[in-house]
Symmetry: C2
Amino acid sequence: MNQFSRYYIVAAATLLFISPLRAQKKNFTIKEATLGMYTTLAPDRIKNASWQPGTDALWQVVKEGKKQVWKIADYSKAKPATYTINQGTYPFEVKSAPQLTWIDDNEAYFVNKSNVVTGVLIRDKWKWTHTAALPENAANITVDKSKNIAYTIDNNLWIQDNSINRNKVAVTRESDKNIICGQSVHRDEFGINGGIFFSPKGNYLAYYRMDQTMVNDYPIIRWGTVPAHADLIKYPMAGGTSHEVTLRVYNIATQRTVTLKTGTRDKDHYLTAVTWSPDELFIYIAILNRDQNHLWLNKYNATTGEKIATLFEETSTKYVHPTHPLTFVPGHDEEFIWQSERNGYNHLYHYTTDGKLIRQLTHGKWVVNDIEGIDAKNNKLIITTSKESPLEKHIYTVDIDNGKLTRIDNEPGLHSATCSPDGKYVLDVYSAYNTPRNTYVYATDGSLTQEVLKADNTLAGYNRPEIKHITLKAADGVTTLYGKLILPTNFDKNKKYPTIVYLYNGPNVQLLHNSFPASGNLWYEYMAQRGYVVFTMDGRGSWNRGLKFEQATFRHLGDVEIADQLKGVEYLKSLPYVDAGRMGVHGWSFGGFMTTSLMLKAPDVFKCAVAGGPVMDWSMYEVMYTERYMDTPNDNPKGYEKSNLLNKVKNLKGKLLLIHGTDDNVVVWQHSINFLRNCVSEGVQVDYFVYPGYEHNVRGKDRVHLMQKITDYFDLYLK
Amino acid sequence: MNQFSRYYIVAAATLLFISPLRAQKKNFTIKEATLGMYTTLAPDRIKNASWQPGTDALWQVVKEGKKQVWKIADYSKAKPATYTINQGTYPFEVKSAPQLTWIDDNEAYFVNKSNVVTGVLIRDKWKWTHTAALPENAANITVDKSKNIAYTIDNNLWIQDNSINRNKVAVTRESDKNIICGQSVHRDEFGINGGIFFSPKGNYLAYYRMDQTMVNDYPIIRWGTVPAHADLIKYPMAGGTSHEVTLRVYNIATQRTVTLKTGTRDKDHYLTAVTWSPDELFIYIAILNRDQNHLWLNKYNATTGEKIATLFEETSTKYVHPTHPLTFVPGHDEEFIWQSERNGYNHLYHYTTDGKLIRQLTHGKWVVNDIEGIDAKNNKLIITTSKESPLEKHIYTVDIDNGKLTRIDNEPGLHSATCSPDGKYVLDVYSAYNTPRNTYVYATDGSLTQEVLKADNTLAGYNRPEIKHITLKAADGVTTLYGKLILPTNFDKNKKYPTIVYLYNGPNVQLLHNSFPASGNLWYEYMAQRGYVVFTMDGRGSWNRGLKFEQATFRHLGDVEIADQLKGVEYLKSLPYVDAGRMGVHGWSFGGFMTTSLMLKAPDVFKCAVAGGPVMDWSMYEVMYTERYMDTPNDNPKGYEKSNLLNKVKNLKGKLLLIHGTDDNVVVWQHSINFLRNCVSEGVQVDYFVYPGYEHNVRGKDRVHLMQKITDYFDLYLK
């Protein structure tokens, strides 16, 4: 053999060796699997989008070289031109183009740390004013259309008014830190996410005042200092003394406050759906009793605090669950839209302010997700619904006069809507199983459809698993459940694979959607790349399927949910490639409760499990959520007993890893600690890990550590 | 084959099969391995032994049928008769014969819950008086010879005097719960175990008063209540503000108190070796500066509090470590014995109360463990020493006039001495490698040797491992270290075995003794039965080997200890049957520090490890202990940095399980939590478990769970 031919053979062999490697797709790293969809693998999106009022202009922030700049697209033209806006000069260094909130056609503001900067747009150039330099610990900063600024300092509410002097006034002066003003109440249940309500014309500031002095303390240890110290939080546990909330109205001009007379009989009731009347004269509140089975929609005089009327009541043998404020019909200040599940699915009801029902606007065995905008000119609401499928969300207009529905979007998937203030346009951002993220602008009257961005598939270079979308019958034999099966990337139907069930199955959460990626989570795909079958399914009790589906679990959480998940297990066991002897289960929060419940109530099914932030005893979970689904421990002792996992530790057969954030203020640490205590006392071996300084979940870069820990545990016991 | 022969063959096969089983000895259960030596497998012992003053009678409690009764043995006779004592009638039901404390020749008392019962023995029958029914939360109950009773209620000290009215008087009325009177101080360091010191004639009550208002709080979460709550303890961390202790003297007759003038310059110094003069006029205190390198033996006037004199001083470039009070020479109220390590080993020094050294009584490269009694008649002390071997403890008399030593006991092993009040007799309870527990009575003048009890070997029916007692050279090449090797019970020298190192290696602890069982711990034998080699060794820094040995670690804990333990590893690796690829290490407290240090500083040695209650950063350990061995963080930043494990988590290669008691008030929970936090932050995987409600260790029945957990971990990664 001569030199040349030897060289040739080696080169050819090298080529042969390299070429299949080049063709092979990458597996995800654990970091990509955990954070990739929010970082390096995030599909492209338009950033900081906003509609400029009174115009046809969509604003967004775009990177130009190293700088971020504003661009606008003007949809008044058939082919919209995009052009860059002169940012003007900021009163201090602002690194990237900030998120604007419009307060008028050519006026907007942004908040940078504790600074409020307002700007006027004159001939495509901004002129900025440093309107307020609030104290560094200012929070809940809220700016109204008349440029009053409300904010909280610790437990008190302050205002910097829109007068020339911009007076800073303490709206409240509560010396007890457990009386909290101007913040979200009722532990963010009932759709509540803030406690500041400026009146429409900016003359009044309504706010929540929550007195939780009577609520039990719960200690959270702060490990970041040496020595550690305990912060006491107020945590009302099911059946225990709860906080008392009132709504107060502050007159900005007179600096006087009135308290709405929401009643003294039942001080621990819930004040939900707080809504100003457009004329500022009245405030509407959906008062819900502590039992959560009786709602009164009340109208109060905003200046005297007197109750004017109860417009209507809603009652239930289970619970009423208001989560949306009233939506007034533009140009008809005596009419509003009320959202209610009274007929089994969240639908829209057109009322007069006398409490007269004009008509039920929407009907059917699907839910209205929310009202996204209003087209005043055409008297239409823009809404999102599950009308096509419980796995999808689509954008519709609904005619307020007759309830006529018109679909706006065109493609299957999970759509979100950002409407222009006048309802003329909607920005639709959606994804579907195989659509990473598409962005369209529609005119809501159907006159315009404009593609804005089609994101590339960031996962194209990766070794992706096959995904089977399935439906099953629930344990009742009737109800359709949605699930999916993710097959190992090296799938061989003649092999048997270890299998992981990921679940949540609690109220207000739905895991299954027609969205990107089809798997739902890259960690599932990572596990598929490691040779696992991954299965996930939303059983009864979960979200977006109507009241009957959700309320199947009423007063006995962890009962039909377990039955339904075991239907999923039955299905898995019917698959020849699922190794029934190597099945694992994992979930967090309610999913941690479900995971632990499965290990104790069906101890022969799963070989190993990882339960994060698990509820172990509903009597130690908070009042609002727990009593809605379980009533109180006194009213429902059997339900609490049956769902209590603390006294069932002896049933454990498989390997169970519990994980908790030490600072968890949602499912408090005591749940898993007391479970461990009982395991120790009963001689039951269980595994444990804690994430110091983390609350109810582990987010950010350290989530990679968490997912590695969970992966390692399954690898140890299932591979 | 006929019916008979078939039967015969089956029967024979059964016999053949059963017979080796019958011969085979049992393995320990995990429960026996953990608790057996204190419960079902405890060698027999004599119970509640006490010498009756002024007699030759040894009392003990014996079971007669279902009852426990007192028996006495009278050693005035050559062949002592044992007879039962009439217990008399108790003032309330007393289930078993209580432990007596003698206050005179025929007078004794016992404490039952918060009751003090005194008795007079008249013609071998007790007559009992219910002397005091103290409050239920009374603690530290102390009765003096004149039947004054001192006790604490929370942080205050009370007395019930011996007058006819038995007045109950609050000696202290501190309203701040962080000022603590009548209790042990300085976190039980310096041999301190109580804070109440009655004067010899019962006219005064001296007590410690500890002001810890200035000390940092540390939160301990109590999980037993729902919701959990935080108790704040005072925990002074190295270099931080420490508590301030004074000694006060209460005159029982006048009810007036004086504070000894122990100095105001250095308020956080240590008040050790508190001793009354026999005439009650003076109190001696060994004052030790906070740096712990300068001791002043001071004499104070007990009625005025004035300092009379400094008798002598002891200084060291490292530390002085007083742990014993003065022992006055009977009949010579101006002479006392002082114990000191000033010449490298704890020895006895005979002093006058003028501070004149009469003579060093004992000498040599061994330590006096303690003074156990005094034979006043013959002017001799009864002491225990390590003279024969650092692994043994023997009983000697030492002549106060000339230091002449006479050994009392006869057999090798670890002896303990309970002397009669006049020093005429000593009760010797000892064990050795193969001696479960023997009990002898000796006359200290050598005139009597009487066997009391030879306990049977409770482990005779078990499958015991072979144990090799070894010596090695420390890393300095000179110092002798003692170790032992426990071989698998199924040992085959041609096989390779997984190997576990158990260690402590910190100050004041010695693991290796010539005592029963030879293994030192049945769990080691349990692991040997499971096929492990177990190794343990006391390296430099550990106890009972003199100052040079102990102080080799001064200012750099975890340095030469690691070097010495690695010498042990070197030895293990030289053994053909040790599998160097399957080695594990385990220790608790200082041993947890050592275990973690080994995993981070010698990361290629051990495949897996279990560290319990580990110190991770000496700056978070308490002042008294830490500053003795490490000085303060300010004085010794390099030493603290080098020993700090929190910033070395990235070195971890092997599997490491950390275990902590949630209520640990010795090595606070923050040590392991902060280690975890850094592991999470650095992406390092580590395992964890906590024992809710447990302090610095897991004792009692739940210890079985702990040892099972540790066993499982080694089995998982080493087998």
